[in-house]
C-alpha cells in the first residue's frame, strides 16, 4: 500500500494538463505526469518517491491516437505497449516494446511512460532513436514538434513541466529490415543484460543498445566500426571500443559477462541483417 496521500488529476485536454501541472508545481506539490503508473505506483509503495500529485494523461484524445496517413505514423504517447504490439503498425517497435516487463505490466505501461521513466532501460525508445522520428511535446507554453534525437540521448531531455503527447515516424521507415533482441540473466521476463536494436536503412546499419550502460545509447562510431570490412567477430570487437560509458555490473550480470553477451548478440545481428 502507498502510505501517503496524493492528489489525482485527470485532465481531458493538453491545455488543462499543462495548466493543472503548473498550478500544482506552484503550490509545491511536486507533481508528476502519469501514464500507466507502473513506475510511480511501485516506487511510491516502496517509499522511494513521494509525489504530492499526479496528472493522469490517459483521457487526453491526442495521446490516445494511433493513425497512419500518407507520410507518417502517429502514435499517442498514452498508448500502452501491449496495445502497440497488438495493433503492430511498426513491427520494429512491437518487437522492442514487446519485451518490456511482462504482459500484465505492458497492458499498463505507456510508450511515453517507458521513454520518460526513471528505470534506466527504456527499451521502447530504441527503435525511435534509430528512426527519423519526431516528438510532439506539450507544456505550459503550448505544443512543439522536435526531432526525437534532439530530446532523447538515453534519457529524456525536456522541461519538467512538459510531456510527450505524440510520436511520429516516417511511413517509409516502418518496414525497414530490423533486428531486436533482448538478452537477460536467464529469464524471459527480466531486466536486460543487453537489448540490441538495429535497423538497416538509408543511413546504413544503425544500432541502439539498452542495459549495457546506465542508459540506452546509439553511437555513430560504433555503427561505422560494425560496417567496416573483416570478419564479424573482429568488427564487433572494434565496435565495442565506442561504447560511450562504463559497462554496468549489478545483480543481473557483471560487466564482463555483459560484454560476452553483447558480442554474441552483435555477431548474430550482423549475420541476420548484413552490413
Amino acid at each position: 500500500m502507498i502510505r501517503f496521500d496524493f492528489e489525482y488529476h485527470r485532465p481531458e485536454t493538453v491545455r488543462q494538463a499543462a495548466d493543472v501541472f503548473r498550478e500544482l508545481s506552484a503550490a509545491g506539490k511536486s507533481p508528476l505526469y502519469y501514464g500507466g503508473g507502473t513506475e510511480i505506483v511501485t516506487s511510491a509503495r516502496l517509499g522511494q518517491s513521494e509525489p504530492g500529485a499526479v496528472v493522469d494523461l490517459k483521457d487526453i484524445p491526442e495521446l490516445g491516437v494511433l493513425e497512419m496517413d500518407d507520410g507518417e505514423l502517429t502514435i499517442g504517447a498514452a498508448r500502452t505497449l501491449a496495445d502497440l504490439s497488438e495493433a503492430d503498425p511498426w513491427p520494429f517497435l512491437s518487437a522492442a516494446a514487446g519485451r518490456v516487463a511482462d504482459h500484465t505490466a505492458r497492458c499498463r505501461i505507456t510508450l511515453g511512460g517507458n521513454i520518460a521513466g526513471q528505470i534506466q532501460y527504456r527499451e521502447a525508445a530504441l527503435p525511435l532513436m534509430l528512426a527519423h522520428a519526431h516528438a510532439v511535446l506539450a507544456g505550459p507554453k503550448g505544443q512543439r514538434e522536435v526531432p526525437f534525437q534532439e530530446i532523447f540521448d538515453g534519457t529524456l531531455q525536456i522541461g519538467e513541466d512538459e510531456f510527450i503527447a505524440q510520436l511520429k515516424v516516417p511511413r517509409d521507415e516502418l518496414d525497414l529490415p530490423f533486428f531486436s533482441r533482448k538478452r537477460t540473466r536467464l529469464d524471459w521476463v527480466d531486466y536486460p543484460l543487453v537489448t540490441v536494436c538495429a535497423v538497416r536503412g538509408e543511413d546504413g546499419l544503425q544500432v541502439a543498445i539498452s542495459g549495457y550502460c546506465n542508459a540506452p545509447f546509439h553511437s555513430r562510431a560504433l555503427d561505422r566500426a560494425l560496417a567496416e570490412d573483416g570478419p564479424a567477430a573482429d568488427r564487433v570487437r572494434r565496435a565495442l571500443r565506442h561504447v560511450p560509458s562504463p559497462v554496468v555490473s549489478d545483480v543481473h550480470g557483471s560487466a564482463g559477462y555483459r560484454e560476452l553477451v553483447l558480442t554474441t548478440t552483435l555477431v548474430d545481428m550482423l549475420q541476420e541483417l548484413g552490413r
Binding site: R3, F4, L46, L186, W188, D190, V251, Y257, L260, T264
Partner: protein, 776 residues
C-alpha cells in the same frame, strides 16, 4: 466403490478457481487495528538509540513497541531470537519496532517516522567465514540461551550454534579399501519460499482471557503451544484458526508474526490487530530456506563400490536458529543419499551469519545433501570412467543394508531405488556414458540424473488425530488437524475414509480450516507426513465408526456384529447383502416403528503417534529418524549455447516409489510442482547479499522465479512398492519432486559445459565463470 487410486478433484478446487476461497488476510473486521514493522537497514549493528516519540504523536497511532517491551526470547529449538531487536540487529530486515494504528497507512507512516541510529559492527557474510576462529561473534550470549528442545549443542563464544555428527564403520579401513578418491566443494545459497500468499496473523485478546489467533501457518498447534509458553497463557485459552493457506513450502512453520501480533494486541487492550507481511518483508524479514557450504570426499574400489565417505557441512542459518538444528540432523541422518557406504564420517555445523534467519524449506535439508552427494557421484563416475547411471545402480541401498544412523532397511521402509533410476533414465532417453551431443553450430544437448531419498526427521512423539461425525443422511464429516496449503491433504484424508467405508468421496465432508479448539491435533503439516499420520488416524476413526454402526445394525438386523459388513452407505449381512440397514437410518440412532429409538449420533475418533523413532546420538548419530524412506530419481535434459552459456531446460523427469498412488492427478501435480521449484533453485533463485549483508534482491522484480511458460516438459511416473504400515501402502511424496532437480540440472550442465558446476544457482554467467576457472 473405490476412492484410493482415483483422480478425485480436490475438495477446495471449485472455490479456489472461482476466487471464492478465503485466505487468512482476506478477512477484515470493523474496528480492527493495523500493525506494521519498522525493520533494520543494517545487517549487523548496535542500536545506539531508537526514538519513538515522534511516531507516537502521529495521527491514528495507538502504540509503538520496541525491543525492551518484550521479555521473551523465541525459537523452537534454541531461544535466541527477540521478537523485536534488543540493543543489536543481526540481519538487514530484522524487526526493530512495531507500530499499531487505526489504519495501515497511518501505521506505515509512523513506522517511517521512528528515529534509529546504528553503530555498525563487522558483518559475517558466509558460514565458512563465520565458523573461522576470530570471526566476529554474532551472539555473545550464546552460552546462556535456553535450550527449548533437545538435541541442541551450541558452542559458546563462537558462531557455531549447533552440530550433528555421523560416525559409522571404520574410516581407516574405508580409505584403505578406496582405490579411487574424489573430492569437491559445494555451495548453495539461501532461498526464499516465495509462496503466493504472504504471511499474516491477527490476534485478539478477549476480556475472558481467551487469545484468538488467526494465522496463515502450517503449524497452528505449534502457534498455540508457543504463545501459551511465551506469554504464560493456559494452552486452552489460546485458540488458533487457520483457513486455506496459499502455499507454504516450510516457510509457514516458523512462529513469529503471531508473537508480534499478540504483543500488539496486548498493547492496545486486547483489540483485534492485524499484521501482514508485504512481499518485501516476506522475503527479507520472515525466515528463508537454509544455504550451505559443504565439502565431501568419496572413495570407491576400482570396480565402483563405495567404500568411504567424509563430509562436512556449514549451514547458513542466518541470524537465528529457528528449526535449522533439526535440518542439520536430517542432513546427517541421510548424508550418503540412497547409497550403500559402509564407512561414514559426517559433521554438520549450524552457523550464524548476518543473513536472514532460516526455517524449514520444502525438502528439509535434502536438497542440500542430494546436491552434494549427487555431484560427487558424478565426479566419481568420471574418475572411474563408468556410466553415472550404472554407478548409481551398482551402489543403491537394498533391504538388509543399514542407513548412516544404522537403521536396518526393509523393502517396506525403503522402496525400490534401482527401479526408479531405470524408469527415469528411460523417460529422459538416457544414453550410457553421458556425453554432450552437438545439435547445432553453437548448441549442445546433455542429460543429467540424480537419485534421492528422504524420511520424515520428525519428533519421535509427533501426533495426529481424526474425528468423524455422521450427518442424519448417512454422510460423514471429517475433521483433521492438517492444514490445506495446496497439497490436497484434506482430500487425501477423505479418499482414505471413503475407501475404508466403501462410500463415494462426495459423501465425505471435510473441515477445510483448522481450529485448535475443535480439531484434533496434527503435529505440523510438514515433512510430507499427512497421508501417513493423518491417514492412520482416519483409518482408526473409521474403525470406531464401523464398530458403532455395526453395533446398532446388529440389534436392528438381529445378528451378531461380526456377521456384518459396511459399504455403499449400508451395513449388511456378509452372507446376504440384501439384508441391510442404511447409514441414514442409524447415523443419528435407529427409530423403531413405534417411535422408540436406540443408538445416537455416530462419532468416530482416531489417534496416531509415531512409533519406534528415536533421537540421534550426538556422537555417532545412531537413531531412527523416521518411519520409512521415499526414494526416487530425477533427470534433466538441457540445450546449452556454447558461446554465452545460456541454456534451456527442455525436459525433466521424476520417478519415485510412491508405495501406492492415492490420487494420480494430484500426485503428478505435486511432483511437477516440486521439480519446478527445484529447477528454479538450480537455475536462478537465491538470496543475494551485498558485502555489507544487505539483501540485494528483496522484491519479486529482482528475486527471479520461473514463470509459467518457461518450464520444461515434465514427465512423471511412479513405482509402487507398498509401505506396509502406511494407509493403503502410500509413501510420502509431497516434497520429493524438488530434492534431486537441482543436482540433476547441475549434472546435465556440467556435462554440457565440460566444467563442474558445484555452486547454485547455475546461471549462464556462473557457467561462464566456471569455464574460465573464475570463482564468484
Amino acid at each position: 466403490m473405490t476412492a484410493v487410486g482415483e483422480s478425485v478433484r480436490r475438495k477446495e478446487a471449485e472455490n479456489k478457481v472461482s476466487g471464492a476461497a478465503k485466505y487468512n488476510d482476506d478477512f477484515t473486521v470493523p474496528g480492527m487495528l493495523y500493525a506494521t514493522l519498522r525493520t533494520s537497514t543494517k545487517a549487523h549493528a548496535t542500536l545506539r538509540f531508537v526514538d519513538k516519540r515522534k511516531a507516537l504523536q502521529m495521527p491514528g497511532v495507538r502504540a509503538v513497541l520496541l525491543g525492551e517491551d518484550a521479555k521473551v526470547l523465541c525459537g523452537e529449538v534454541l531461544a535466541d531470537r527477540p521478537p523485536l531487536a534488543k540493543g543489536r540487529v543481526r540481519y538487514s530486515g530484522e524487526p526493530i519496532a512495531l507500530v499499531v494504528a487505526d489504519s495501515e497507512a497511518q501505521a506505515m507512516a509512523a513506522a517511517a517516522a521512528i528515529d534509529i541510529a546504528y553503530d555498525p559492527l563487522p558483518v559475517v557474510n558466509s558460514p565458512l567465514e563465520a565458523a573461522k576462529p576470530g570471526a566476529p561473534v554474532i551472539h555473545p550470549e550464546l552460552g546462556s540461551y535456553t535450550k527449548e528442545q533437545s538435541p541442541i549443542y551450541p558452542q559458546a563464544g563462537t558462531n557455531i550454534c549447533d552440530s550433528a555428527h555421523i560416525r559409522k564403520g571404520d574410516m581407516a579401513r574405508g580409505w584403505q579399501e578406496a582405490e579411487v578418491v574424489v573430492e569437491g566443494d559445494f555451495t548453495l545459497p539461501q532461498i526464499d519460499h516465495a509462496a503466493m500468499e504472504t504471511r499474516s496473523a491477527r490476534v485478539e485478546i478477549l476480556p475472558d482471557g481467551r487469545v484468538q489467533v488467526f494465522s496463515s501457518t502450517q503449524a497452528p498447534f505449534e502457534v498455540q503451544k508457543l504463545l501459551s509458553k511465551y506469554f504464560a497463557v493456559p494452552q486452552g485459552q489460546v485458540v488458533v484458526s487457520t483457513p486455506l493457506v496459499g502455499g507454504a513450502f516450510g516457510g509457514k512453520t516458523s512462529v513469529n508474526l503471531e508473537v508480534l501480533a499478540y504483543m500488539a494486541s496486548k498493547a492496545v487492550g486486547g483489540r483485534l490487530v492485524r499484521l501482514a507481511n508485504t512481499r518485501e518483508q516476506d522475503i527479507a524479514t520472515s525466515p528463508v530456506g537454509v544455504g550451505m557450504q559443504a565439502r565431501m570426499k568419496l572413495g570407491a574400489t576400482r570396480d565402483g563400490r563405495l567404500a568411504a565417505a567424509e563430509m562436512a557441512y556449514w549451514l547458513d542459518t542466518g541470524a537465528y536458529t529457528d528449526s535449522t538444528p533439526r535440518v542439520a540432523r536430517a542432513i546427517a541422518a541421510n548424508c550418503t543419499g540412497p547409497y550403500r557406504v559402509p564407512n561414514v564420517h559426517c559433521d554438520v555445523n549450524v552457523v550464524y551469519t548476518n543473513h536472514v534467519f532460516t526455517t524449514a524449506y520444502r525438502g528439509f535439508g535434502h536438497i542440500n545433501l542430494t546436491f552434494t552427494v549427487e555431484r560427487i557421484m558424478e565426479k566419481l563416475a568420471h574418475a572411474l570412467g563408468v556410466d553415472p547411471l550404472e554407478l548409481r545402480k551398482r551402489n543403491v541401498l537394498e533391504p538388509g543394508d543399514t542407513t548412516p544412523t544404522t537403521v536396518r532397511l526393509t523393502r517396506s521402509n525403503l522402496g525400490d531405488t534401482a527401479k526408479c533410476l531405470e524408469r527415469t533414465a528411460e523417460l529422459i532417453g538416457w544414453t550410457p556414458g553421458s556425453h554432450a551431443e552437438r545439435i547445432g553450430p553453437h548448441t549442445v544437448r546433455a542429460h543429467g540424473i540424480a537419485a534421492f531419498w528422504k524420511t520424515s526427521s520428525s519428533p519421535p512423539d509427533a501426533i495426529s488425530g481424526a474425528l468423524i461425525t455422521m450427518n442424519k443422511d448417512g454422510t460423514m464429516n471429517l475433521a483433521t488437524g492438517t492444514v490445506e496449503f495446496g497439497a490436497g491433504t484434506k482430500t487425501t484424508a477423505a479418499q482414505i475414509l471413503a475407501e475404508r467405508m466403501g462410500m463415494d468421496v462426495d459423501q465425505i465432508h471435510i473441515h477445510s480450516d483448522v481450529n485448535t479448539k475443535v480439531d484434533p491435533e496434527h503435529w505440523k503439516t510438514v515433512a510430507s507426513m499427512s497421508t501417513y499420520m493423518s491417514g492412520r488416524a482416519v483409518l482408526e476413526a473409521a474403525e470406531d465408526v464401523i464398530r458403532q454402526l455395526k453395533s446398532v445394525a446388529a440389534t436392528v438386523l438381529r445378528c451378531p456384529p461380526a456377521d456384518l459388513e459396511v459399504g455403499g452407505g449400508r451395513v449388511y449381512l456378509r452372507d446376504d447383502p440384501q439384508q441391510y440397514v442404511a447409514f441414514k437410518d442409524i447415523a443419528h440412532g435407529y427409530k423403531y416403528q413405534e417411535g422408540d429409538s436406540i443408538g445416537g449420533q455416530v462419532m468416530g475418533r482416531g489417534s496416531f503417534i509415531m512409533r519406534h523413532l528415536t533421537l540421534l546420538d550426538q556422537k555417532t548419530g545412531q537413531g531412527r529418524p523416521g518411519p520409512a524412506w521415499t526414494v526416487g530419481a530425477t533427470a534433466v535434459e538441457v540445450d546449452l549455447d556454447t558461446r554465452d552459456f545460456t541454456y534451456r531446460i527442455r525436459r525433466a523427469a521424476t520417478v519415485m516409489d510412491a508405495g501406492k498412488v492415492i490420487n494420480p492427478r494430484t500426485a503428478r501435480g505435486v511432483v511437477m510442482g516440486g521439480m519446478n521449484m527445484g529447477l528454479g533453485y538450480g537455475s536462478r533463485e537465491s538470496m543475494l547479499y551485498s558485502d555489507q549483508g544487505e539483501v540485494l534482491n528483496g522484491q519479486l522484480r529482482l528475486y527471479k522465479l520461473m514463470r509459467y511458460g518457461e518450464q520444461p516438459e515434465y514427465l512423471v511416473d511412479f513405482v509402487e512398492t507398498p509401505q506396509v504400515d502406511s494407509p493403503y501402502g502410500a509413501r510420502p511424496i509431497g516434497e520429493h519432486g524438488n530434492l534431486a532437480a537441482p543436482a540433476a540440472l547441475a549434472n546435465a550442465l556440467s556435462v554440457a559445459a565440460g566444467v563442474p558446476i558445484d555452486e547454485l544457482p547455475a546461471t549462464p554467467e556462473h557457467i561462464w565463470r566456471a569455464t574460465k576457472g573464475v570463482h564468484r
